[in-house]
């Protein structure tokens, strides 16, 4: 009989592979990969805000909801800054600076009230990948479904805006709305991966599949991205499980191996 933990690990890696695989090329094409990676850092501020509301203000809403609302708000504010002419990197940096300030200030107040509260917030970004829980799998199922629907319905427009933003505006496309959708996808991706596989593994998996797939094929890159993401997550997790490595180590090794393999394939072609 298959070890239940291994089964949960396999399901989690399969779901995170699909989630990353479908969204990563979109982030690469829309030149928002750095925004995606930086968005991960806003998750901690969301966690700190949640524990602050609980310990200082007495508001008991599950941490994940507050963190999710916070990260989506930050994502939409970042999108609005881009819409108002800020380069995406600058907009993301400004929002990270604000989030960092919130983290530091609220941490101070939380630490006065409770010695374990800060650790609770940190658990949000460290992830629980070595002990994948049923709630992690539920979160992955919901996130993959929501992101899948958003990507399915709005992918065409988002790519088109990346191709010719001025033309898209002149054709009457609501560029602001699609930018909000894209950044919301980034926010959901960031918080889901951070909470389930941890901040380090999230960094590894967000960028690699889309970027590598686009290097290998200009036509079938979405399918290729899903395949690469599955190789990284499934391979990485199973490797980590067998060798008793931390999952982020396994994912990192597989991401590096995929990069080398794709470069070799490119050379052969």
């Amino acid at each position: 009989m298959v070890d239940p933990l291994l089964m949960r690990v396999l399901i989690a890696s399969l779901l995170s592979g699909v989630l990353v695989g479908i969204s990563s090329p979109l982030l690469t094409l829309a030149k928002t990969l750095l925004t995606g990676l930086s968005m991960i850092h806003n998750v901690l501020a969301g966690g700190i805000l949640a524990v602050y509301l609980y310990y200082v203000c007495g508001v008991s809403i599950p941490m994940i909801y507050i963190a999710l609302m916070y990260v989506i708000t930050v994502a939409i504010l970042t999108a609005e800054l881009v819409e108002r002419g800020y380069p995406p990197d600058t907009a993301a940096s400004v929002m990270i600076a604000i989030s960092s300030a919130i983290t530091v200030v609220l941490s101070y107040f939380v630490a006065i009230k409770s010695s374990i509260a800060i650790a609770q917030a940190w658990s949000l970004v460290v992830g629980t990948s070595s002990i994948v829980t049923i709630s992690d799998i539920s979160l992955l199922i919901v996130a993959t479904t929501v992101v899948g629907v958003l990507v399915l319905f709005f992918r065409r427009e988002i790519i088109y805006i990346a191709f010719d933003e001025l033309g898209a505006r002149s054709m009457g496309l609501n560029v602001r709305l699609y930018r909000y959708v894209l950044y919301t996808v980034i926010a959901i991706l960031a918080i889901t991966l951070t909470m389930t596989i941890g901040i380090i593994a999230a960094h590894i998996t967000i960028a690699a599949p889309g970027a590598l797939a686009l290097q290998l094929s200009r036509r079938k890159y979405t399918q290729l991205s899903v395949l690469i993401a599955l190789i990284i997550t499934l391979g990485g997790y199973v490797f980590a499980y067998i060798t008793y490595l931390p999952p982020s180590g396994g994912l990192g090794i597989f991401a590096a191996a995929t990069l080398i393999l794709s470069e070799l394939l490119k050379v052969k072609r």
């Binding site: 065409r156 427009e157 191709f163 010719d164 001025l166 033309g167 002149s170 009457g172 200009r218 036509r219």
Partner: protein, 257 residues
């Protein structure tokens, strides 16, 4: 009664509260028209197109495009007017197929979710044939030559069945033969399909055989008329001070002249 054409009166556009891109520009183009706006770098040619397309709101003045105020009535104007931007504004690293680019032109006129049906693909094929690029429909945009890229962008605009095509520097990066072919194609769209054409270009010579209306612009309008009326050294010198005249040749005194 709705005005059928483009009317601008004393239109002024100021960037960052100090840089005047357009100054009291007044133009009236009654449909049908095949017109070309020429002027030196920084003359406000692209700004003029953006104002007409509703992408920019003028700081001063009145504008009417087929009975609508573009910056206010964006919905109706985006259906009537198709804007073809400069190729340098397009990100060619995005791997889009020719047919998908043209299809998006068609679908963008609809509400989301934009699902393409069989008849949409058939209509796209028809437009690609009109522009003689049907053989490239499965090609990536980045794989095409400059002339074909320009045709794809025109196909994307044309698929929306616009009343007016606004083209920003369509002749840039093309050799002279291709420029002439493109000018002829645009003339066919005007004469056979009834599409009004407004081109912004440094070079008017490819269009001259089709007797376009020439608008000489350098922040304000210096002359409007047929090519033989405007392309005269004494008029051109107002905008291009280095203009020199040789037998059957006028040199405007700048690189792209």
């Amino acid at each position: 009664m709705k005005f059928h054409g483009i009317k601008l009166k004393d239109v002024t556009v100021i960037f960052n509260s100090k840089i005047r891109a357009l100054e009291n520009v007044s133009i009236e183009l009654k449909s049908p028209f095949y017109a070309i706006v020429m002027g030196p770098n920084g003359a406000g040619k692209t700004t003029l197109l953006k104002v007409i397309a509703g992408l920019l709101r003028p700081d001063k003045g009145y504008i009417n495009v087929y009975g609508y105020v573009p910056y206010r009535d964006k919905g109706p104007v985006s259906k009537l007017v198709s804007y073809v931007p400069q190729l340098i504004q397009v990100d060619e690293s995005i791997p889009l197929l020719v047919k998908d680019i043209v299809l998006m032109g068609l679908l963008s006129a609809r509400k989301a979710p934009r699902i393409a049906f069989k008849e949409d693909y058939e209509y796209v094929d028809k437009i690609l044939k009109v522009l003689e690029i049907d053989r490239c429909k499965e090609c990536l945009f980045s794989e095409l030559s400059g002339g074909l890229k320009q045709r794809v962008m025109i196909a994307r605009a044309l698929v929306r069945k616009p009343k007016l095509l606004l083209l920003d520097e369509p002749f840039s990066m093309l050799d002279f033969h291709m420029k002439c072919e493109l000018a002829e194609l645009l003339y066919r769209l005007y004469s056979e399909m009834g599409v009004d054409i407004l081109i912004v270009a440094h070079e008017v010579s490819p269009c001259v055989p089709f007797e376009p209306l020439v608008i000489l612009l350098n922040k304000r309008v210096y002359a409007v008329g047929k090519a033989h009326e405007v392309l005269r050294p004494e008029i051109l010198r107002k905008v291009y001070p280095g203009t020199m005249e040789f037998k059957n040749l006028i040199v405007l005194g700048e690189d792209h002249g």
